[in-house]
Amino acid sequence: MSALSFIIAGMLAAAMPFLLAALGELVAERSGVLNLGIEGMMALGAVVAFIVVRQSGGHAMGFVAAGLASAALSLVFAWLALAVRANQVAAGLAIGILGQGLSALFGKRYESLTVPGLPKLSVPGLSDLPLVGGLFSQDAVVWLGLLATLAIWATLRFSKLGLVIRAVGENPHAARALGYNVIGIRYGAVAFGGLMAGFAGAYAATVYTPLWAEGMIAGRGWIALALVVFATWMTGRVVFGAVLFGAVSLSQLAAQAGGVALNSQLLASLPYIVTILVLGAISANKRLLKINGVASLGEPFGR
């Protein structure tokens, strides 16, 4: 298999942890809440899924348990940020540290153990194509993840629910005046973000590399956070960014295998560098920020 077809075949799977977590964070941020705890929520989801799958609960059960665990952790954040009106940055970092700690704690007995992955489901015909065939042979989670992406995009863009979430993020006072429960909607958005981060962690630990190692999320939560900004809070661009960074991480592997010297640290820094540049570019331009940004992001809402 050539390096190119290797990357094309694997990039969706590599993108999945970024994509799922970033989509969840996108919804939370669209409602006006900045949750910096993604890395910890993913780590918790990863360990919960791994333990459940290892105890032969199966992958479906593992994903459900992971999603619920991370959503529960995100509700702790939501309670602090929304009910207690604590500083969102501090609260996000707190549950991030808590999640990473719990993950390491629960995973201690599972260090270096493995679980079975998931089989690939191929699209008949298309998966036999030269070069790009691998793209059409993915595990069930990738297919479901792509469907979920489509659903989130459509919900945010076309449904009333999506409109309300965006309104709450843009102008919570106006949304409240219209009779919407701002705090309730934000709780929901944050919990959805936790659920997705849990799925992302579960995918990383039980499907993508089905082996437990402490700290296995390895900064993918931070990349997901960066992606949301990089994508200027647009669903389509999140998908593009996630697949791009997935492909970049694979090209690193392909280059190593091929004996090509790539500066892997520079590659690993790329998402962060790009995010800083994008953040500078959109923030500098008031009009761009108005179109793209979320006006009330990170600001507490109270009576």
């Binding site: 970092l93 820094s269 923030s283």
Partner: protein
Amino acid sequence: MGIWMIRRTTASRRMAVLAPMGALALAIVLNFLLYIVMGNDPAAVFYALLLEPFVSWSSFSEVLLKMTPLLLIAQGLAIGFRAKVINIGAEGQFILGAIFASSIPVWFPQATGGWIWPLMLLLGGVGGALWAVLPAFWRVRLNASEILVTLMMSLIAAQLLAYLLVGPWKDPMGFNFPQTVMFQWDAMVPTLIPGTRVNVALILALLWSALAYVYMQKSFQGYQLVVGGLAPHATAYAGFSEGRAVWLSLLIGGFAAGLAGAAEVAGPMGQLQRGISSGYGYAAIIVAYLGGLHPVGILFSSLFMAALYIGGDNAMVSAGLPVAAVRVFQGSLLCCYLAAIVLVRYRLVRDGQEAPA
């Protein structure tokens, strides 16, 4: 029936002291419930984690050693936090400080003289401040949130460190380990208390705390920073620019974190390596908040947090508690604190019970 939060007309001083203590008590209860569920002996863990760091001089000296970087970083960060400049990139500024300081022993391993370690500390501070220049510029000139930019800069710093350690700065005789040469004697901060690892950097951290106290509590500029954080429009009207507050906050915070990084490589580490930080930059954020962003409070919170690290090591050895328990404790402690601290500025009132103004 519900409970409402009513804003107090003035912050409660009594609560400002009681809330952190209540949070600590709650965190201890929650974490010990977890230890019991995990099958650890709670009495043994309690002794090893919370008491042992203070009972023997040898472990208390290690607490003082750990306290040094936390105190340095947290005092710097708190200044920014009070001005509402949220620098969460101390981790990266710490790493850059360590890198800048290491440049002397790495490039001039034969150099001798009493000037080497002070110059390294100074370089470290400069390195940390330089790493904060871009976020400050981005915020002041481009209006970009310093929260995300400082965070991204930290993640880049970690990669830069990794690059130096596997590439140009790797010890050629180091069996391919990602670390630099061991530093020469003169590149090490002198020991303060014989027989321990506590070094002169502790004095610097205490001096830095005194300076932070004078600056934030007594000086006009410190006052402007605090008021600027509370009422940006009022201070802008009074002619104090927000840009200056951002530059000051980020440069001070970066300098302090860089200094801490330098003191760490030139102190307990003795060489530049991957595990240079063990998360001090993030832990210091907890320390800063837990200390109520007040220089005196931070003195206590950094001591406690340092003791928690040492106690965690003790509890691993004597009570079989996994090291990760320390991070769980840190995270849950900050959660409890954030919940408790609300009582300083709000009163809780039941439904139907009219709040007297």
